[in-house]
Amino acid sequence: MSKLIDKTVEEVVSFIQEAVFSERYAGKEGFLQGLDPRAKLAALLISISVVVGVKHITTLLFLYSIPLIMAALSKVPLGYFVRRVWVFVPVFTGIIAIPVIFNVITPGKALFVIWNSPYIAVTKEGLHAAGIFTLRVATAVSYAILLTITTKWNDVMKGLSDFKVPGMVVTITTLTYRYIFLLTSILVDSMHSRKSRLCRKLGMIESWKEAGKNIGAVFIKTQMIGEDVYYAMLSRGYLHTAKSLNDFRFRKRDALFLALTVILMVGVFMGDRWFI
């Protein structure tokens, strides 16, 4: 009927599905699920920084294997995990990396000649450059997604306050997360109600105007909800400072996990710089 309505509803549904699926694995009793979210957040920041900093493809292959092992230990199905990473990577990075394999962008030793005049060939250097670029993105995405699917959203939010993120920002982030779901439901309802009143396909400019009116209406509703939320918070004892019910305990195994991550990542980084 209309791309605006159908694709937007599709996007919202896939967003909710993703969030629900992530929470499903976060509730399992696996290796990463049993760790303190602060230890996992710190390990993620260190690991991704090393992924971005290393130079060799062999190091990246080694780094890519770590989240796969961690996923298996955390009872996350490997097929689901690998698919989630590689569905994202080819769409953006794979397409961008394709021209890099040719001599036009990366001159070098020709491995496979496609055309003689003008001369177009796949080069060894080009394949290496595209490979390292794609693998780096896939590895970084793997680490980030692994944190997401083994940690409950609320726990990550609580963990953030220990990373010197200002309390006000954590409060707003927590509220945002909660209200995203309410607003997505309002969005889907308004899209369906508009669709039920349509008797023909919307043109492109018409779709943009419809989106504008819809966003305007959601903005007005958002304002009303914001006020209600404030009074609801006041009635429950909100004293203008949010207290985080953070009952995390940093145990020995969390410290050991973090220490091993630091040792492993520093070792990998130094090995990549000086020994490969």
Binding site: L4, K7, V12, I48, F133, I145, T173, T176, I180, G212
Partner: protein
């Protein structure tokens, strides 16, 4: 426009984290001056910013595009509100959906939470003296989005000169690619959508439209 991890090298990422410190500092100071009643409102409005990015707008090449909504929030609430809201949205997207990146978070925040709303907002403020509010908002959104895309193109294009092994294309490819896509597809969509939002809010709830004005006066 979300730059994933692996596109920018460590030096570029560190540079953007340092560059963003004063903007985030000023944003947090702005938050501290808010009336307590406005804090939950900003939380819900940040969820609204997240939602704006979910609209799939059909564009001339047959696909669909997303808008960031930074100019909408900057005009309706204020540019610092846009910086705070969009920075939080980008954090949620990077941490929970692998959309954007963690090492590139500061670069993404600079493009979408600083360049886009401020360029959009001040273009709107300048043009509003000569044009209607609605037209000025549309042009502001267009200029803001295209400028942010060109800045992202420059970031990509600088990378091969700083450190190889990341985004492989120089300015000559990355800037025209980013600029063209946003000039002819997402840019016009953002302009029409933003102008319509402003027209709709002004017509339905004019008092809400004045929030950004009050914010501008307050500084």
């Amino acid at each position: 426009m979300h730059i994933p991890d692996g596109y920018l090298g460590p030096y570029t990422c560190i540079f953007f984290y340092i560059l963003m410190i004063p903007f985030w500092y000023k944003g947090v100071r702005w938050l501290k001056n808010l009336h307590p009643k406005q804090v939950p409102l900003l939380g819900v409005l940040t969820a609204f910013s997240f939602l704006v990015m979910m609209y799939n707008l059909p564009v001339p090449d047959g696909t669909t595009a997303h808008i960031v909504g930074g100019t909408i929030i900057a005009i309706l609430i204020g540019p610092w509100a846009a910086t705070v809201s969009i920075s939080i949205v980008l954090l949620i997207q990077a941490l929970f959906f692998g959309d954007g990146g963690i090492t590139t978070y500061a670069a993404n925040s600079f493009n979408m939470a600083v360049v886009l709303p401020f360029v959009g907002y001040y273009t709107y403020r300048v043009l509003r003296k000569k044009l209607s509010d609605v037209a000025a908002a549309g042009i502001g959104a267009y200029v803001g989005l295209v400028t942010a895309a060109v800045v992202a193109g420059f970031e990509f294009g600088l990378q091969p000169y700083i450190q190889p092994g990341y985004c492989p294309y120089t300015f000559w490819v990355s800037v025209p690619a980013m600029a063209f896509a946003h000039l002819v597809t997402a840019g016009p969509a953002a302009a029409v959508v933003t102008a319509t939002v402003l027209w709709y809010v002004r017509k339905s709830r004019p008092e809400l439209f004045d929030m950004g004005e009050a914010e501008a006066v307050r500084g």
